[in-house]
């Protein structure tokens, strides 16, 4: 077995969820070369909000490492009259939160789920690549499959990640951190 559950964070009307290496049993160092964050039914407090992440290289004391990313998505609505596959933008050396998910509805039965993979966060040589596929039921009742990827542009070790919605709280849901070895 090479996928080890490290930590599960459960949201309860939290503005953000944070994984910090060395805190609360979280490991995000050279123990593993690949880490996966599994998002299960992440439910926003506000309608049509997007899941984001931001990285730190000083144990969460400060966040905001230049990051360049891509985002595209496929969608299809319940009315069966709208579909698309299109580029949605991305970050260019942004030090703000990076969009990794699409517009998520806040009806009682709506949420987003998916996986983000982070490669070699402890490398002191390379930038830190990440890929994410997150599916959400949107506020307009679309199935929305969002693909985000990019690189955190630092040769310093990334030792903390923080997740939030662009507006409001994470009302509910789990984020599970796995190490792949």
């Amino acid at each position: 077995m090479a996928k080890t559950l490290i930590k599960t964070l459960t949201a309860d009307v939290d503005s953000e969820l944070e994984f910090i290496d060395g805190a609360d049993d979280v490991v995000m160092d050279n123990t593993y070369d690949v880490y996966e964050f599994h998002f299960v039914n992440i439910h926003p407090s506000d309608d049509s909000k997007k899941l984001r992440m931001i990285a730190s290289s000083d144990g969460g004391s400060s966040y905001g490492i230049e990051t360049t990313s891509t985002v595209f998505d496929a969608y299809h609505n319940e009315a069966d009259d709208a579909t698309s596959l299109d580029y949605r933008g991305g970050a260019a050396q942004s030090t703000s939160e990076i969009i990794i998910g699409g517009s998520t509805g806040y009806d009682d039965d709506q949420a987003c789920s998916g996986v983000m993979t982070l490669y070699a966060p402890s490398s002191d040589t390379y930038v830190k690549h990440f890929t994410a596929q997150i599916h959400q039921s949107s506020g307009s009742d679309f199935a929305n499959n969002t693909f985000a990827a990019g690189y955190i542009n630092t040769a310093s070790a990334v030792d903390a990640l923080r997740f939030s919605f662009d507006v409001g709280d994470i009302d509910a849901g789990e984020i599970k951190l796995f190490g792949v070895s």
């Binding site: 077995m1 090479a2 996928k3 070369d33 690949v34 230049e66 360049t68 990313s69 891509t70 985002v71 595209f72 596959l85 299109d86 580029y87 933008g89 991305g90 970050a91 260019a92 050396q93 993979t117 490669y119 070699a120 490398s123 040589t125 390379y126 930038v127 690549h129 990440f130 890929t131 693909f147 990827a149 990019g150 690189y151 542009n153 040769a155 792949v180 070895s181």
Partner: protein
Amino acid sequence: MGLTFIASRTADEPGTGSGEATLGFTSGIDDTYNEYQFYFVNIHPDTQVTTHPNFQFQVNAITSADPPVQLEGFDENMTTTGFYAYNRNTSGASDLTYGATEDQAGTDAIYQNILAYDITNVDRGSVSGVLTLYDPSSITYIKHFTSVGQGIAYGNAPGVGSGSYALNMWNAGYINTTNAITQISFKFDDGDIDAGTIYMYGVS
């Protein structure tokens, strides 16, 4: 789902110009698992080349004879698709597009790009991602694969100007043989693999 580590291959000569021409697995791919995953982590091109190469893979089969015989060369026929999203880190150039030169068909039998468009060999450039190979030991079906890669493209990346780009490429296809696949090879199309590790897992 269980993910079992099988083996890894590492190139570890950063900056020396004496990397590995290929990284691959010539054993361990059989009917133990019907799904194999290859995680490639920070695969870095040879710093001695001046071009910015594409990261690729091919496979090799055994014959259907009894006992089977290992075929020569990584040159199986594939029919594949490729598309990618890119975004320049200085902004002003981004898109999602089908990669007309990132696929192959029929009897091309060439190495398949899984992260293309000038992967940079400078500024900490590298490629990371996952390639999944389905049921390689089947002697009934063709062999499907899917891959997702993330890298830094550079220079005239997708042909829209200079600079570095986040490039996210998705490839998939089938290896058009009913012979069992037993070997896999990864390489850059120009120069060596200077550094990086490829992990092979069995999925059960």
